[in-house]
């Protein structure tokens, strides 16, 4: 087993070396693209922001003359396809939801980390604005200590109910509750759809709810609400007990802001080097993305129209991603 790991690590180093070398070679010979008419396969996951990123990238690649295919894929399951080369690029991998999967895939040498998208994922506990009347002191986290009964349900009584993400998107809610001594119980929602269903249902009834939410996403735009302000995250909070207000526990702080990265099939570096450079250069900010998501999900405009509009208005931006011919 040890030997196998060692060999695998060596393989990894080789892959890194080869990638660096290829990168250099790619830069030298990037003069001509498209290199081939083999289609680049981009994955479409099932949330709007990802589809926007993907369609923008796909549009740019088409402008460069590449063949582009869009494949509908599950967020988690797509890694299997990215490893084998059945899929080429996935545009949004979120730190909190798929960090482990991505690290495992990249360590295997078959998937490349294509760098950050520029968007920062804000992920934290969220509540609707109307709760500030019922739980005075919010958004400060200490207010929650006295409001457990406001958020309680028959199954969590006397504790408050906190609706977390799926078990696998580790927001460390249980640890945080313990470290900050909050009278709350975590209920995990299995999927984003279930989480949103419950938030929307509570919002319609002006009922109490405290839940895991993130942005860029349509929900914080559509529902008026606020993030709970926990003690700010700093280096050491997650692994050094003496850090922060609770000297005996880790996780006594809020969530760090997370990256959103692009990943790609490692074998594609040789096939479409110029395209890979452009994908690495892809960059978009939270505000811009938020506006596009809002236009699609809140105002109900067709996705492609919104993407085309952005492409027309920001031609300089995306032209700058394309390597010089």
């Amino acid at each position: 087993m040890q030997l196998r790991n060692w060999i695998r690590n060596c393989g990894f180093l080789w892959a890194v070396g080869a990638t660096v070398a290829l990168g250099a070679a790619g830069a030298a010979s990037a003069a001509d693209f498209p290199e081939t008419d083999k289609p680049i396969r981009l994955t479409l996951n099932d949330w709007t922001g990802q589809n926007v990123s993907t369609r923008i990238m796909g549009g740019v690649l088409e402008e460069m003359g590449y063949e582009v295919d869009y494949v509908q894929a599950d967020y988690m399951a797509q890694f299997t396809g990215l490893k084998s080369g059945d899929l080429t690029v996935a545009m949004e991998i979120w730190e909190t939801t798929a960090k482990d999967l991505m690290e495992e895939a990249v360590a295997g040498g078959k998937v490349l980390d294509m760098g950050e998208t520029g968007m920062r994922a804000v992920e934290d506990w969220w509540y609707p604005k109307y709760m500030e009347e019922r739980c005075p002191g919010l958004p400060d986290w200490e207010a929650l200590k006295d409001c457990a009964d406001v958020f309680a349900t028959p199954t969590t009584q006397p504790k408050g109910r906190y609706l977390g993400g799926a078990v696998t998107w580790d927001g460390h809610a249980e640890e945080r509750i313990e470290a900050l001594d909050l009278p709350f119980e975590v209920v995990h929602s299995g999927t984003e759809a279930a989480l949103m269903a419950e938030i929307q249902s509570a919002y319609q009834r002006k009922a109490p709810i405290l839940a895991w939410l993130w942005t860029p996403h349509w929900a914080p735009q559509q529902f008026e609400g606020e993030w709970v302000r926990f003690p700010k995250y700093g280096d050491g909070c997650y692994d050094d007990p003496s850090w922060g207000i609770n000297p005996d526990a880790t996780y006594d702080c809020g969530n760090p802001r997370g990256w959103i990265k692009k990943v790609a099939w490692a074998g594609g570096e040789d096939v479409w080097p110029a395209a890979y450079t452009a994908i690495r250069n892809f960059h978009i900010e939270n505000d811009e993305m938020g506006r596009m998501i809002g236009a699609i999900d809140v105002d109900g405009r067709p996705l492609q129209t919104v993407v085309d509009k952005w492409m027309a208005e920001n031609e300089d931006t995306w032209r700058s991603w394309i390597p010089a011919k």
């Binding site: 059945d86 999967l101 199954t155 299995g190």
Partner: protein
């Protein structure tokens, strides 16, 4: 030990036998519970005893997927070439029906996809030809719905993948069934494999399928075939056995070769029975549409998922209803094709194929010049999505209070106590009780099998999750039976009720469960209760259907005889019909359990903490071993239930003289 006590005290038949069994089961649980006080391992399976089965499975799968080779050719590349083979008809279907395709000579020449109007008209005509006015009407409404609710494009993508998955499933099932019919030894191997294919949740083997077949529509078709094919194999075995010996004897005497005997005599003679399998394969394939869309199949399933993710419940419902309509229309079409006795519309018999081709081709060619014929124009489409959204919002604000009250009562007084009790049961006691029960019902062989299955769950460290699974499914099945059996009795008594329940049951079974899962979560919040409601809705169907069928199957002479004896209507129902239909009703219950277990993976999406969630977590971590092992545990629970009920039914049938 406990069994021995039970055996010694056991006496006589009938009621006392049942009483002894119950007493032995209770005794086993009680003794284990007492013992657990001194010896903790009797109560809770110690973590240090768990075998790393999932690591072993992962290792084997890794080898199979990466390194295995036969004669220098990698297993994986063999499968990949199979995938390429499958992708040809699939691509062709999608291009012809949905996308159109670019001619390879350059110059941007494209062949258009078939015109919607042409396909729609041809389908209605074909329906009229094989099934008369009724079928034509059904098909007319189906295609009209698909076109005018803006579902055409997605529907054609879905239909293209179904058109590949269903024939592959049928042929494979037929061949496996034939082989099993010929060689009893093969059948003994095949049976448990079919059981596993139907009960191991699809998420458990999704990753290996993706690695082997590549990411995309082909993998989706393969997963669909794995799930939908088993009923065909089963039905084939039964149908072939049902072919009467005289027919075969006659064929042999007239000098048929073995091949002629099979394809000219045996299979045609079993056609009626085989159609049941065709029906099942179609229905189950359409059940898979949602999951298939997660791995690149696209189509209606993807529309449902995307709409619900954005909480556009109306849009999700419209796409879901499209799937239901396709399922029902296809099923009726299949039935009409085999049932030659129906009335048929007066259409020219000769050159009918030519007529259909013309009906499809003309609008397609015209569509090149006038685009409304090529794709459904946006101006013609309507949507009711907005109203559904408003309805859900209204229900949510107005009815939430009373519904939530009822939910709290059920949760606090029934669900939670039952869950605690089950989880607290000592595992040794449960295994012993199962052993006793299976021995009483089916002898030593059954007892050995059931015990082994239960031990596997404990040894792999899944005991507690399994108990939560049993709790969730147990409660749901009980409620489904409480609602479904009376409904079945009612619909057996009246043809009008029968028609209504059949429609409702068909819809519930083919409407993707995700469509009603999200509104259920809005009303009942994330948690076990929502999961339970969804499971009950899905698993209700067989309880109604089998009860109805069972009671209708009681021979008319028996009822006549009861009436002659002066039985009142109530007496006929309670003393004659129900007891005679009981074996059939229990089979329905068995199916209800199977369907409840198959819903677990879906309810994992709303935050349950059972084996379904384990499978789902393993999928999100791409942990092949953990996923397969948890999936096997689900399958084993299903098999234990199936074998116990099966043994009981056999015993009961024998007692009633029905065997």
């Amino acid at each position: 030990m406990n069994e021995a006590v039970a055996e010694r005290t056991g006496a006589g038949g009938g009621l006392s036998r049942t009483a002894v069994t119950v007493a032995a089961v209770v005794l086993a649980l009680f003794v284990a519970d007492r013992l657990a006080g001194w010896l903790p391992w009797v109560g809770v399976y110690p973590g240090s005893w768990e075998l790393p089965v999932s690591d072993w499975v992962s290792g084997v799968m890794e080898w199979l997927l990466q390194d295995a080779a036969i004669g220098g050719i990698g297993f994986r590349s063999v499968v990949r070439s199979l995938a390429t083979l499958l992708s040809v008809p699939l691509e062709a279907g999608t291009l012809v029906l949905a996308k159109g395709f670019e001619l390879p000579f350059g110059g941007g020449m494209t062949l258009p996809a078939l015109s919607w109007l042409g396909v729609a008209a041809a389908l209605v005509l074909f329906g009229a030809r094989v099934g008369g006015r009724r079928l034509a009407t059904l098909l007319f409404f189906t295609v009209a719905y698909l076109a005018f609710f803006g579902q055409w494009q997605s529907a054609m993508t879905t239909i293209a993948s179904i058109l590949v998955a269903v024939p592959v499933g049928l042929v494979l099932g037929l061949l496996l069934g034939l082989a099993a019919y010929r060689h009893p030894a093969f059948e003994r191997v095949l049976r448990p494999v079919l059981d596993l294919m139907q009960t191991v949740p699809i998420f458990a083997y999704l990753v290996p399928v993706l690695v082997l077949f590549g990411f995309g529509p082909v993998a989706a078709v393969v997963a669909t075939v794995i799930y939908a094919m088993p009923p065909m194999a089963r039905v084939t075995i039964v149908a072939l056995r049902g072919v009467s010996e005289e027919i075969l004897e006659f064929a042999r005497m007239s000098g048929c070769t073995r091949r002629q005997l099979t394809w000219r005599v045996l299979v045609p003679a079993a056609r009626q029975g085989l159609m049941v399998g065709v029906n099942q394969v179609i229905m189950l394939s359409l059940n898979m549409v949602i999951i298939a869309s997660m791995i690149g199949a696209g189509g209606l399933g993807y529309d449902v998922l995307r709409a619900l993710r954005r909480l556009q419940i109306g849009d999700g419902l419209e796409a879901g209803v499209a799937i239901t309509l396709i399922a029902i229309a296809t099923e009726r079409l299949g039935r009409a094709l085999t049932d030659g006795t129906r009335s048929r519309a007066r259409l020219p018999r000769r050159h009918f194929g030519l007529l259909l081709a013309a009906v499809v081709a003309l609008p397609t060619i015209a569509g090149v010049f006038w685009s409304p014929l090529a794709g459904v124009p946006d101006a013609l489409t309507v949507s009711t999505a907005e109203y559904w959204g408003r309805l859900v919002a209204w229900v949510n604000t107005e009815l939430y209070g009373p519904l939530n009250g009822a939910k709290s009562v059920l949760l606090v007084y029934v669900l939670i106590p039952f869950k605690r009790a089950l989880v607290a049961l000592p595992w040794t006691g449960v295994v012993a009780a199962l052993a006793v029960l299976s021995h009483r019902l089916g002898g030593w062989r059954l007892a050995a099998g059931v015990t082994a299955l239960a031990l596997f769950i404990a040894v792999t460290g899944n005991w507690e999750k399994a108990m939560i699974t049993v709790y969730l499914c147990g409660i749901s099945v009980a409620i489904a039976a409480l609602i479904g059996i009376p409904l079945g009795i009612w619909s057996a008594a009246s043809d009008r009720v029968h028609r209504v329940t059949t429609t409702v049951v068909d819809t519930l079974q083919t409407l993707p469960s995700f469509v009603y899962l999200i509104p259920v979560v809005m009303l009942f919040q994330v948690g076990d209760f929502s999961a339970m409601v969804a499971i009950v809705l899905y698993a209700l169907a067989p309880a109604v259907r089998y009860t109805d069928h069972g009671i209708r199957g009681v021979p008319a002479e028996t009822i006549e005889a009861a009436r002659m004896c002066g039985c009142t209507r109530g007496q006929i129902r309670w003393r004659v019909q129900l007891p005679l239909a009981l074996p059939e009703i229990m089979l329905g219950l068995n199916q209800t359990i199977m369907m409840a277990l198959s819903m677990l993976v879906i309810t994992a999406l709303v935050g349950t903490r059972d084996l379904g969630q384990e499978v789902y977590i393993a999928l999100t971590r791409a942990d092949i071993g953990a996923g397969l092992v948890a999936g096997l545990c689900v399958a084993f629970i299903a098999m234990i239930a199936d074998r116990l009920i099966g043994a009981w039914v056999a015993r009961r049938r024998a007692a009633l003289g029905l065997a």
